[in-house]
Symmetry: C2
Subunit: 191 residues, 2 copies
């Protein structure tokens, strides 16, 4: 069932034959993750590309001063991994934790390489994923450089209304690059 969700997602970008769809699906492994469970931790190499079927995740780092900084959130139909660790297969710097009881589909690094090498369409799919990701991060960096904390919060509300109720306030504040107190002030002003 859950693999249909992955397949629907993938077929938005490349059109697969039944055999290809079967090959892709059989390459992923379904894993249940409990709330507060970690799927990536610093110093361990991230072995998987993770597709979120159900639930929510947060990827963050901890600074030398002990502060948490959120790089990414992921809910249904998003991918989440420590991307530097995954593509270069070196130790992770991020923690990735489930914010809710979740279900993910995991693709192992070597399996992904086989898929890409054996079939042009799979290569195309992962190229599109990386390009969309890069374009997204460019928009994000630029938006953060240009706009005030208040505008960053408004923009997040506008683009990711589904996330706001599901992520803790301190995590959202650290994603937006502001203190929890400041985010709380902005939220109170709006109500």
């Amino acid at each position: 069932m859950n693999k249909d969700q992955l397949l629907n997602y993938v077929q938005n970008f490349v059109s697969l034959t039944d055999d290809e769809a079967m090959e892709l699906c059989s390459s992923f492994k379904e894993v249940k993750v409990k709330k507060r469970q970690f799927i990536v931790q610093p110093n361990f190499t991230d072995r998987y590309r993770n597709f979120v079927v159900k639930g929510a995740f947060r990827a963050y780092a901890i600074s030398d001063e002990g502060q948490e900084h959120t790089l990414q959130f992921a809910i249904e139909n998003w991918w989440v991994s420590d991307f530097n660790s995954y593509i270069y297969q070196h130790p992770a710097t991020l923690f990735i934790v489930a914010l809710e009881d979740s279900v993910i589909l995991q693709l192992e690094y070597e399996k992904e390489q086989e898929l890409k090498a054996s079939n042009h369409k799979f290569e195309t799919f992962f190229r599109i994923m990386a390009e969309k990701g890069l374009a997204f991060e460019h928009r994000r960096i630029l938006f953060n450089l240009i706009h005030s904390a208040e505008a960053r919060y408004e923009n997040f509300l506008l683009n990711f209304p589904n996330f706001v109720q599901r992520v803790p306030q301190y995590a959202l504040a650290s994603y937006l690059g502001m203190s929890t107190e400041f985010l709380s002030r902005i939220r109170n002003k709006k109500t």
Copy 2:
């Protein structure tokens, strides 16, 4: 000659036959760009992926308040474009300007699509470019979230020693997310 430089770069990532190398090279067009000339401007769609053979470029946006914010620098063997504009073929939001007299190799959007569709290796190459770009931006976002302005400047010096002498101080300050005065204070402290 300049196409050899591109080819050397590409062959770091995929190994091409002579015919494929020729096909790739003939898809790029060499363009000379004068210092202060723009290759991308807001509201015009960015039609090209640009490989820098010689020279230096800066990609930046201007906020509503008239302030410049630098998203990217590029020197020899880097790529530069308004990536959101290029991959989605919609109007650009960035200015991209030559900081020196420069030479670039331009690949037109439609030509790139043909290359990728016709040959798995070209698809692989552009997938790797996007993945490296995405991994780079993740490192950058995380570094900026976690570290002080001073550490951001040190890190830039360490990773991009070749850029520092070639980009104006106000542009570097806006790339690092600080005022020119602040960057100047950090630099003076170091000497």
